[in-house]
């Protein structure tokens, strides 16, 4: 590992710690978390976000189509009855699994909708952090590659 990368990792870890312990404001925490976006699995991403495990929760709801007519644009909505502070959207079979991460200050509804790219049929996962714990739910989205665009 080159020194620069090690520094980055250390820095990210420190920021992660500071964020999780409330030492820095949310604006600073919204800096781009490189480590998380380089994660190859749910565990990698969880770790980079300062978590360890995520419990499956029926209180996290993931709204995504069963079939996407095009993998370039897959609509994903996440909502929860939990008091979410953070939400993340992951695509299990993408080269890097984390697609987007959201920080929700107090007063912001536990909901987000966006659109992500999927290289192939895969599970899509929604991670929610509430009361210091992580929760997850997932759903398979079938992807039709390219369609007739040849």
């Amino acid at each position: 590992m080159n020194p620069k990368r090690r520094d980055t990792l250390r820095l990210m870890a420190v920021i992660g710690l500071m964020a999780s312990t409330g030492l820095i404001s949310q604006a600073q925490a919204a800096e781009w978390n490189k480590l998380a976006f380089e994660g190859k699995s749910l565990d990698d991403v969880l770790k980079a976000l300062g978590g360890t495990t995520a419990d499956k929760s029926a209180e996290v709801s993931l709204n995504a189509p069963d079939i996407a007519e095009n993998g370039a644009v897959v609509p994903v909505g996440v909502s929860t009855s939990l008091k979410a502070q953070q939400i993340a959207i992951l695509v299990e079979k993408n080269p890097n699994v984390l697609a987007a991460h959201f920080t929700l200050p107090a007063g912001t509804e536990p909901f987000v909708g966006t659109r992500v790219k999927m290289g192939q049929t895969s599970n899509v996962m929604a991670l929610v952090k509430a009361d210091g714990k992580w929760f997850v739910t997932s759903k398979e989205v079938k992807v039709t590659l390219g369609g007739c665009g040849g």
């Binding site: 079939i67 996407a68 370039a72 192939q120 369609g147």
Partner: protein, 277 residues
């Protein structure tokens, strides 16, 4: 080889090749699960909210009002058929005959005329630029702006002038014209409402209802390419997939097909810009 064996049962189109890539959909066919078509309907519903064509529309509105070209003029005096500067409802009544050019013009051909006459821009530069690039880019954004201003109106291309009727007739002829290495015409896929390619339903463009489904939703933002596609671009790619050679930008065949579609779709609703796969 004995014809009587066939009984016509293998039928038509093994290998009709509209360039579909393999789809990675596997059947999990348990009873009660939604069908593939249901899934696609939900997908379309979900992406309908928030059409990125709006971004092009905003840019187009700015370009319409901004002085440009060697003559440093805006397009605000451009006559799209309803009088100089009238944008509202203009796209719903195109293609149509224009006296000054003595030609039936679609929106893009007419915009080129305006850009040439008012702004001094050489139309050849627009014709030669690839879609989505160079001199075509501003035209495409302006198209998004103009067609948005007919949203919700009735499709009503006049089709009264002899030249308009002539264009419609040419468009109809072109619609059925088979050629190229796969013998395809537009009609091969688009003269029957019950057919589909892969999972995509094919509108019957010879019927009013089907033509309105096509003409009424294009131009559109195309999610597969992440770009706004004008009607010229839509037709260009149809011909590419038909294995035809390259239709020249705003050539007779492209305007004629637009006239045929708009004529058939008359009375339908303008839903442009659409949002398409």
């Amino acid at each position: 080889m004995n014809r009587t064996i066939s009984g016509g049962r293998i039928g038509v189109a093994l290998g009709l090749g509209l360039s579909c890539l393999a789809m990675q959909v596997s059947a999990q066919g348990t009873p009660g699960t939604p069908t593939a078509s249901d899934g696609i309907a939900k997908y379309r519903e979900m992406i309908a909210d928030g059409n990125p064509a709006e971004l092009y529309e905003a840019e187009g509105e700015e370009l319409w009002k901004k002085a440009a070209g060697p003559k440093n003029a805006t397009l605000e005096k451009c006559d799209l058929g309803l009088g100089a500067g009238v944008v509202k409802g203009a796209a719903a009544q195109l293609p149509r005959y224009f006296k000054d050019t003595n030609r039936v013009q679609d929106l893009e051909s007419r915009l080129m005329t305006c850009m040439e006459v008012l702004q001094g821009i050489n139309p050849q530069e627009i014709i030669d630029a690839p879609f989505g690039k160079g001199a075509k880019k501003p035209v495409e954004a302006i198209v998004a702006y103009v067609v948005t201003n007919s949203r919700g109106m009735k499709i009503n291309a006049p089709m009264k002038h002899p030249k308009e009727k002539e264009m419609y007739a040419l468009g109809k002829h072109a619609f059925y014209y088979r050629g190229g290495s796969m013998d395809f015409s537009c009609a091969t896929c688009h003269d029957d409402a019950s057919k589909r390619i892969r999972l995509q339903d094919l509108p019957d463009l010879t019927s009013q209802k089907g033509a309105a489904l096509g003409w009424g939703f294009w131009p559109a933002y195309r999610v597969s390419s992440g770009e706004f596609w004008t009607m010229q671009r839509r037709l260009n790619d149809c011909y590419r997939q038909q294995r035809f050679p390259y239709p020249n930008y705003t050539s007779d065949v492209t305007i004629a097909l637009s006239a045929y579609l708009a004529g058939n779709a008359k009375g339908g609703v303008v839903n442009t810009p659409g949002l398409k796969r």
